[in-house]
Point group: C2
Chain length 317, copies 2
């Protein structure tokens, strides 16, 4: 059996990945500092013989003997990564450095969960992996965007300098069960707002677009990348593109029939947008399709349907 | 008197800056690990009561009590920063972090010597400070370019988060006496080659452009920025733009009359170019002119003339 380290394993993506790997029969170590992750996400795994949790901050070195490292540890939602920007950069740079150092020492394969944010506010549409991006280096999102760009640089430098086996995934917006109810990302915000009967908050005019991928598709993509033969970077995302207005409309339609009579029908309110918000974003997934034989399977409407059950339970509805 | 720390003070730019500050009467501490710097550059200052040298690597924390920090420590020439890319990133990120930590602790003003390389292979020409750049995050130059971009991010995050007084200079290609004879940069390469009677090596077709600034102009610009009221980023460079072919021609003209009869007249040879070499580069210096009342004074031909004396001496001609 393979020994697999998942950093950030108690977070949204990490906990789903741990589910998959434990289920597959690997020996899984989940490493997390629980900044944005939660014990709740992995409580059903605790006690299983092939699952283990380590409370640790990736900014500090650590010695572990593993065969594969899925390096996910990093706050991913704007409100969390802006909370302490310097810590965000340390997590991206030092965290990635430490995990690459470990990969080098134990000859493990290393996967970086990078992000579509490396493309910034893209001038190419849809975005291919060759695009160099349009990122404001001194803006409020820079701690995350530039931090991830340097994490990619470090990965490729370890690859070129030390021959480490690296895999770089550029993940596009992902949603699904276990998303933190108040981590500020748009799908979880709208859904929790609609279910609670408060207005869905659209930032700006709502004409900006995103392409939303369901979590099970992402997990399949990450595993295909890790177990395949290509370093990447490879976009992992769903090319279905929606404006925030369209997303709000769809959530309205999906949620309305499920609401108890006491909860008012979903409405929309407009709020000021944050700075440097990307105008549009959509992955070109040609590489993932051809090199990994992977493509997303779950359409947005279906994914939202599956997510509602989890949110209703957690909101006590 | 002000206590001023100059990191990278034994390098090309740093040693000229130390000259200026010591001359002005400040208490100057020159910190350097002597990776690309040289004792020779500062030997005339050693022994002066207001000058001091510390051999230290900025990647490690250090405690000093100062009023201003000029943070220059970082290899600047492609051959040096590509020599150990991971160390280059550590120097940029951890070095800048440590100096910002010091600035925070002692309430010093902090100046970052950033670079026109944050614009990468620019799609805007000339480059204004608002331009977000076109940098390959996973290329061979990324350790330097992305390292500096994150150093800027860190500076602005310390400014926003902790209220540190920061100054960010985006320095364009600079040349002058004391440039290391074989650090691989184009002006020093061509000049040393011409004086030695070996062909000047043009990489690629020689049609790429750069804008070259004489060192005394840069020092004046850095001091104006540090002592002024604007955080920047501010471009510090000379807008005179030349192709590498034009530069070689000019060096031919300036050097030929100075050559001893035994040395053959300068010639040119073409070599393969390195990856991701920026096609053109030229600063828009409107901000420096209006906010700092600074502009460059030394034209390329004049600067080359001043530089030749130094190179002839060091080459023993
Ligand atoms: N979800 C998305 O839409 C998306 C998109 C692009 C990229 N990503 C990337 O995927 C990864 C996981 O994102 P997520 O959506 O699950 O976010 P999340 O916030 O739910 O999970 C991140 C996890 O990392 C942990 N963590 C943060 N800093 C840490 C540190 N210094 N040491 C140890 N653990 C630390 C958190 O506690 C959390 O459990 C991140 O690297 C993120 O950048 C996610
Ligand atoms: N010269 C240019 O054309 C130019 C252009 C843009 C930016 N810059 C920036 O200006 C600064 C100085 O450049 P330069 O041309 O004088 O280069 P240089 O190589 O001559 O000087 C750099 C100095 O920093 C020192 N150094 C390197 N790593 C260090 C570390 N980890 N700890 C302590 N000292 C370290 C070196 O020993 C050297 O003395 C650099 O930050 C560079 O990025 C220079
Ligand atoms: O199993 C390991 C091996 C290394 N590292 C850390 O990874 C970083 C990079 O290690 P590497 O050996 O590549 O370079 P170093 O900086 O130690 O020369 C260092 O901070 C190490 O402490 C780690 O946390 N776990
Ligand atoms: O309550 C919210 C949260 C986000 N957004 C918008 O939704 C998009 C996606 O934001 P998110 O934070 O989910 O992800 P990211 O910006 O990182 O893609 C952005 O345009 C946000 O401005 C919104 O309109 N309302
Ligand atoms: O005089 C000082 C003060 C701080 N630091 C270093 O600067 C970094 C950032 O310091 P800060 O206090 O901002 O944050 P910390 O990471 O210590 O919370 C740390 O690595 C410190 O060791 C330093 O080298 N000299
Ligand atoms: O011997 C040399 C060294 C450099 N270059 C070219 O000169 C330009 C400036 O290179 P340098 O390394 O001085 O600075 P940077 O690329 O960092 O601007 C680049 O287009 C190089 O390809 C050249 O033609 N011959």
């Amino acid at each position: 059996t393979r020994r697999i380290l998942v950093t950030g394993g108690a977070g949204f993506v990490g906990s789903h990945l741990c589910d998959y790997l434990v289920q597959r029969g690997d020996d899984v170590i989940c490493l997390d500092n629980f900044f944005t992750g939660a014990k709740d996400n992995i409580k059903h795994l605790i006690g299983k013989p092939n699952f283990e949790v380590i409370r640790h901050d990736v900014v500090e070195p650590i010695l572990l003997e593993v065969d594969q490292i899925y390096h996910l540890a990093c706050p991913a939602s704007p409100i969390h990564y802006k909370y302490n920007p310097v810590k965000t950069i340390k997590t991206s740079v030092l965290g990635t450095l430490n995990m690459l150092g470990m990969a080098k020492r134990v000859k493990a394969r290393f996967l970086l969960s990078s992000t579509s944010e490396v493309y910034g506010d893209p001038l190419q549409h849809p975005q291919t992996e060759e695009y160099w991006g349009n990122v404001n280096p001194i803006g409020e999102r820079a701690c995350y965007d530039e931090g991830k760009r340097v994490a990619e640089t470090l990965s490729f430098d370890y690859y070129r300098e030390h021959g480490i086996e690296i895999r770089v995934a550029r993940i596009f917006n992902t949603y699904g069960p276990k998303m933190s109810l108040d981590d500020g990302r748009v799908v979880s915000n709208f859904l929790a707002q609609a279910l609670r009967g408060t207005p869905m908050t659209i930032y700006g005019d709502g004409k900006q677009t995103r392409s939303f991928q369901y979590i099970s598709d992402l997990v399949a993509g990450l595993v295909a990348l890790m177990d395949g033969d290509h370093t990447g970077p490879i976009n992992i995302g769903n090319p279905g593109e929606f404006t925030m207005l369209e997303l709000a409309e769809m959530i309205k339609e999906v949620v309305a029939p499920q609401l108890p009579p006491s909860v008012p029908a979903p409405t929309i309110v407009f709020k000021e947008n944050t700075s440097d918000d990307p105008q549009k974003r959509k992955p070109d997934i040609t590489k993932a399709k051809t090199l990994l034989k992977w493509e997303p399977k779950v359409a947005l409407r279906d994914g939202l349907g599956r997510m509602i059950e989890d949110f209703k339970t957690r909101l006590g509805l």
